[in-house]
Subunit: 344 residues, 2 copies
């Protein structure tokens, strides 16, 4: 009789495969959302992902249709005391005034110089048309590549006044986990922001793992032209193509993505229509609202639920009531998030 090995090669290959399968299974059992406390919100996210990605589930969504959209300010990162991009606009004024000294005595540029000199109260003098004027002056009129370099430089140097950290470190760890969890399950994650599309695209890949082509934001036109030596380039124009707020969010999603998201997350009235549009689709859809109710670890503002009112990222009682009525999930930062920032 020929001597046979106790475990034949074929068996070992099989055993190796089984081992790999076990390891994969073990990984799948690891908590994908470790910074979330157990509760309705975490449960809803996990159930949504499982129900839409498990083959044979009645609410299975084919990989190509797995789209999840996230507001940025107040949803993925801190928006108080002021949106980061507004800080960029204000802090870009000195360089602008240096290049055009005649602006130093002209409002709203003069007002911004007062604010930056320490007169924080002067900020309340700035009206919406003032901000639009400042935005046009600091965000447009230059080649796209120049803007990208300037924004990148500012992001590397600027610090949030409370945590003294770069803005890009003030992202919410629980939301970073949701982004990764969704992507690990075949979802394409998008930012759909009222902020400037070109601004957010500068850091979205490094900060959130979201590539520029998956950032939908308030977008201006560009103009194609040539340098003196014939090299083509694009100049940022002071012309708004998409105001990606309120109804502009579903409109922007249609323009840039062309599909209704399976999941959407926001935190303020500017996200209302995106959450409505998402939840109104067929099958399993998840709409979520982040409630800033943690004054100690982050900020507390509403005015929903009696929280202090704010002009920056308001979540009204009416929106809160709509969320409850329509089965959206409200995430309490205080109760649902074990940890808010990675640096904690």
């Amino acid at each position: 009789m020929k001597s046979l090995p106790k475990h034949s090669g074929a068996f070992r290959v099989f055993a190796l495969g089984a081992l790999l399968a076990l390891a994969t299974h073990a990984l799948a059992q690891t908590d994908p959302l470790p910074s979330w406390n157990d509760g309705a919100a975490k449960k809803a996210i996990v159930e949504f992902v499982q129900t839409t990605t498990t083959q044979g589930s009645p609410q299975f969504v084919p990989p190509a249709e797995r789209i999840a959209t996230f507001d940025q300010d107040g949803t993925l990162w801190v928006e108080h005391p002021m949106y980061s991009q507004v800080m960029y606009i204000l802090e870009s004024v000195p360089a602008l005034v240096k290049a055009k000294p005649e602006l130093a005595k002209v409002a709203p540029f003069s007002t911004v110089l007062e604010v930056l000199k320490g007169d924080r109260a002067a900020i309340s003098k700035l009206t919406m048309p003032d901000l639009e004027k400042l935005a046009a002056a600091t965000l447009t009129g230059m080649p796209v590549a120049t803007f990208q370099a300037e924004a990148k430089k500012w992001l590397a140097e600027a610090k949030d006044p409370r945590w003294k950290k770069p803005y890009t470190e003030l992202t919410y760890l629980p939301m970073q986990e949701v982004l990764k969890y969704l992507r690990a399950n075949g979802y394409k994650t998008y930012i759909v922001t009222g902020g400037g599309q070109d601004f957010v695209r500068v850091y979205s890949e490094a900060t959130y793992g979201i590539p520029p082509e998956q950032v939908v934001g308030t977008a201006g036109g560009t103009k194609y032209g040539y340098t003196k030596d014939g090299k083509p380039f694009l100049t940022k124009e002071p012309k708004i193509l998409l105001n990606d707020n309120n109804a502009g969010k579903p409109e922007g999603i249609h323009l840039m993505i062309g599909r209704r998201p399976q999941m959407a997350v926001g935190n303020s009235t500017g996200d209302q229509q995106m959450l409505e549009y998402t939840k109104a689709g067929d099958g399993a859809r998840l709409s979520m609202l982040v409630l800033h109710d943690d004054a100690k670890r982050e900020y507390a503002y509403g005015p929903a639920k009696g929280l202090p009112a704010t002009k920056v990222g308001a979540l009204t009682q009416a929106l809160y009531d709509e969320a409850t009525k329509k089965g959206w999930i409200v995430v309490s930062m205080k109760d649902d998030w074990k940890k808010i920032f990675a640096f904690e």
Copy 2:
């Protein structure tokens, strides 16, 4: 001495791995572009893909930056005698007139009815403002979902007059191979078309394997609203946000993708700026022009190279000369393509 198997389990696992590696290598050696004749164009495509995707190559492009953009009409599918979407617009007029009988006697609707009754010469009466009026009447004013259903129905029924086949079968097999070859090498493939973004998105996934979010086209606005029972929906508005032709192509690429492509392919003057913009980037960039010089198997038109002039997808001698001067690759349908359609 213990009896040892001639080939231990570990060796067999190794051997299996080596076999798999060999098989992969063999697959890589298979011609990725079998419908292309050997020549400068095929060589340029293969070299471009190898040089940008081989680790260690000085012109290696990280996977996230691998973007390739393709014009559609005349580049990916037949555009003569008339763009498919114009046929859709014309053939949608009878249903429009049925709903609004008063239009039957009003130009340009009456002119279209003459054309459809067989008076092909009447088509020359249609001016650009006429076409815009017809486009607004047939492509806007309805919910997005209604438009998508109507376009889908038309695409399933309409036939090209020469081959008597659905338009979606008149795609160029050699270009389908390029799309697949690029995707197999980590490229994201985009359509960047002067045609309607919403129209092309209806069939892009089934026809080219390109999902809706990777179609950039001439895009109109939409308006968010609610049905009587409160369900949100978007209505197509007669307002152009992006005219994705000529300079509008690089502008649209910036708006929708936010990166400069590594490779771009077009066939007419409407693609000039996209090809310039692409080729002007750093590192290895490939710009290609398809020359319709095969009257027998498809169509022949220029007016470049003395080919007949056309109003539909003209490739001027000036553009041909620019291609030569700037190192773009000109693809001759006659000489470079072994086979034009899959159904041949």
